[in-house]
Amino acid sequence: MMIEKTVKIINKAGLHTRPAATIVKLAAKYKSEFYIYRDGMGINGKSIIGVMTLAAEMGSELKLTFDGPDEQQACDEIVAYFERGFDEL
């Protein structure tokens, strides 16, 4: 099964380089495939260039999908990071 979650960017600076790097690092710990979608563009959440390409500013919505043996843990940790506003609130 695959988990799908929609998240919103809530910090002022948006998804800039530092959070992008953190997301990629978090994702790399897990075996599951992790994809991020924005306006129909899907990128691999384990690729820093990909995550930066999203250029997701404050207020934008992203769809996250997790697929693999540890998808629940991966989803929990990464979604929590989005919800904390990348620890920038």
């Binding site: 790399a28 495939e33 979608y37 129909g40 563009m41 690729s47 260039i49 930066m52």
Partner: protein, 337 residues
């Protein structure tokens, strides 16, 4: 298999006239003739329309939501009408929500046309190109705009003129292979995020994204800018996709092709692309193999299929009675080297 997500296939529903004007102005040599314009008017169709019949009075099945092209026929027809009739003919088609009009062949608009167009806020352009040429250029532009496109995670490299897309799990070494290929004189189209657009039937053109163009991440090193580092010869903006190479760690249970006679393909947006699965093993130089993949593709393209030729040789040999394989050369004539 690589992940082709149907949800990631995007298709523009419409473009507005402003976008058309800004982007096709130079390509089609468009000159704006009206001054009261609604640039928000939408174009929904890549096809163009010549409204000859509609101007003459037959408006059933009038494809009004396309760009309207007024060529010599339309203009000569309108010009020979009396002013009242001109107004009537134009009113007939301006009742519909026409996005815009292009006059070809340097046709000058008569006053009533400009007045009526301004009143209805329909942008009118003129071009020096002939109708045939304008139709060709504008159709190509619109075709591209309305084509489906797909984002794929991988690296696209031009190797000896053949577009190879490397796919595989994150961290398998796609970027490293691409970097190695660049070092050997091949050209990078994009790394990590590649957008493919369908061009006509059976052709996929790939390019990087606006922001990620020619940047690359190397694990343990970070982000590098390939264009500044290796120069213009190391990059290109777009390339036709010709082969998909999937890199994966060696898996005992997967069968890898040994002869190359069974050619696998992958279907991306209804286009069949040759597909090769490459296991990564110690001592295996993926870069050199990639070059060989390209050269083999080119050989096949020029009618030389190595696997088939070997197969034919074998079949020939099998037909002979005394078929023990022997030296490739019968007699080494005074050759002591």
């Amino acid at each position: 298999m690589i992940r082709i997500d149907q949800n990631s296939i995007k298709r523009k529903e419409n473009i507005n006239v402003k976008f058309l004007y800004e982007n096709a102005k130079n390509i089609c040599k468009l000159k704006l003739l009206t001054n009261n314009n609604d640039f928000e008017k939408k174009i929904f169709d890549q096809n163009l329309h010549r409204p000859g019949l509609a101007l003459a009075g037959f408006v059933d099945l009038f494809s009004y939501n396309r760009v309207q092209v007024f060529g010599n026929t339309e203009m000569r027809y309108l010009e020979q009408l009396s002013d009242d009739k001109k107004a009537e003919a134009l009113d007939r088609i301006f009742k519909f929500n026409i996005p815009c009009i292009v006059l070809t062949d340097n046709n000058e608009p008569f006053n009533i046309l400009v007045e009526k167009a301004n009143f209805n806020k329909i942008p009118v352009f003129s071009t020096s190109y002939s109708t045939t040429k304008l139709v060709y250029l504008l159709s190509d532009f619109l075709d591209d705009q309305f084509s489906p496109s797909l984002t794929v995670h991988g690296s696209l490299v031009d190797v000896y003129g053949v577009g190879i897309l490397f796919v595989g799990k994150s961290g398998i070494g796609k970027s490293e292979v691409a970097l190695d290929l660049i070092e050997r004189g091949h050209r990078l189209v994009g790394d990590d995020v590649i957008i493919f657009t369908k061009k006509g039937e059976g052709i996929l053109i790939g390019s990087g994204t606006k922001i990620g163009k020619h940047f690359m991440e190397i694990r343990g090193l970070g982000i590098i800018d390939v264009q500044s580092m290796f120069g213009i010869r190391a990059i290109r903006y777009q390339k036709r996709l010709e082969i998909v190479v999937e890199l994966e760690t060696w898996d005992e249970n997967t069968e890898y092709t040994r002869t190359g006679l069974d050619e696998k393909t992958i279907t991306i947006m209804d286009v069949e692309i040759p597909y090769i699965k490459l296991p990564i093993l110690p001592g295996k130089n993926i870069t050199v193999i990639s070059e060989v993949i390209s050269l083999n593709y080119l050989l096949k393209h020029y009618g030389h299929n190595s696997a088939k030729i070997f197969n034919e040789r074998l079949n020939e040999k099998l037909k002979q009675k005394n078929n023990l394989d022997n030296r490739g050369v019968e007699y080494f004539e005074h050759d002591f080297e």
